[in-house]
């Protein structure tokens, strides 16, 4: 696997750090990718989320679960 493919796998993960104001930050792996790699990361993430949602009892992906965790912590 090339170093770019590894960056794509990292950028396609759902985890995103936040700054002290609570803003969601771009992935550092995503920032290291060129334009083509960033689009590839988007497509890998899209396919991965479909697999995750298909395996989840509630049909949720890791993106959806991350957002629900955030909502549970912050309310509305």
């Amino acid at each position: 696997m090339s170093s770019e493919e590894i960056l794509i796998e990292a950028a396609a993960a759902a985890f995103r750090a936040r700054n002290p104001a609570g803003e969601i930050l771009p992935s550092s792996a995503w920032m290291d990718l060129d334009a083509e790699g960033r689009v590839a990361a988007h497509d890998v993430a899209a396919r991965s989320r479909l697999l995750e949602a298909a395996l989840d009892p509630d049909g949720l992906s890791s993106t959806a679960r991350a957002v629900l965790l955030r909502i549970a912590g912050a309310g509305r």
């Binding site: 950028a11 993960a13 985890f15 995103r16 957002v67 629900l68 509305r76």
Partner: protein, 188 residues
């Protein structure tokens, strides 16, 4: 076409369970709507911000009778966040216009729920994965975007690059296994 607005009263009432059901149907369309911005913006971060804002503004959403009003509001929020992000990044206004047109040209979006048959096939394919790729996949699934990969790699006893290689291998092996069973990547 499914109308996800059936969940709107519960969402307005602040019920996370109703938002859970809405999310299961809406995420795919929202992510797809952001693809034209993917070369310049981190669409995963953008999508998570969009979903949080949908939850926050949902009590003010007014169904217009055309169906999927909250999904259409989400698509508008995603588009506006993307355009704001491009302007903040001082992207050339001509390039912004092009990207916005590409986003507008995307075909209409419909809610999509996971297929139970796909789930059975994926589970079958997951059981066939070698140990290390299976471990990387399981950790990503169990933690649901709540932990960074370096933390997952430590738990797996792997270096970060090894963990990512194993996750990538798991994803590719799953896709190959599904393709062998008549489900090539473009069909799910």
């Amino acid at each position: 076409m499914d109308d996800l607005d059936v969940h709107l009263p519960g969402i307005v009432a602040g019920e996370p369970e109703a938002f859970t059901r809405w999310l299961a149907g809406a995420e795919r369309s929202l992510r797809q709507s952001l693809r034209s911005f993917a070369s310049r913006l981190d669409t995963e971060a953008l999508l998570q911000e969009t979903l949080l804002r949908v939850w926050q503004v949902a009590p003010r959403a007014v169904p217009d009778g055309a169906g999927n009003s909250l999904l259409r509001l989400g698509l508008a929020i995603a588009r506006n966040l993307a355009l704001s992000g491009l302007r903040r990044a001082r992207t050339d206004p001509v390039a912004i216009d092009v990207l916005e047109r590409e986003a507008n040209d995307t075909s209409p979006f419909e809610p999509a729920l996971p297929d139970p048959l796909l789930r059975d096939l994926i589970e079958h394919c997951v059981h066939r994965l070698p140990r290390q790729p299976a471990l990387a996949l399981r950790l990503r699934l169990e933690t649901s975007g709540s932990e960074p990969d370096d933390s997952l790699a430590r738990r797996a006893g792997m270096k970060l690059n090894t963990f990512l290689q194993n996750f990538g291998r798991a994803r590719k092996l799953l896709a190959a296994c599904l393709a062998e069973r008549g489900l090539p990547a473009g069909s799910w």
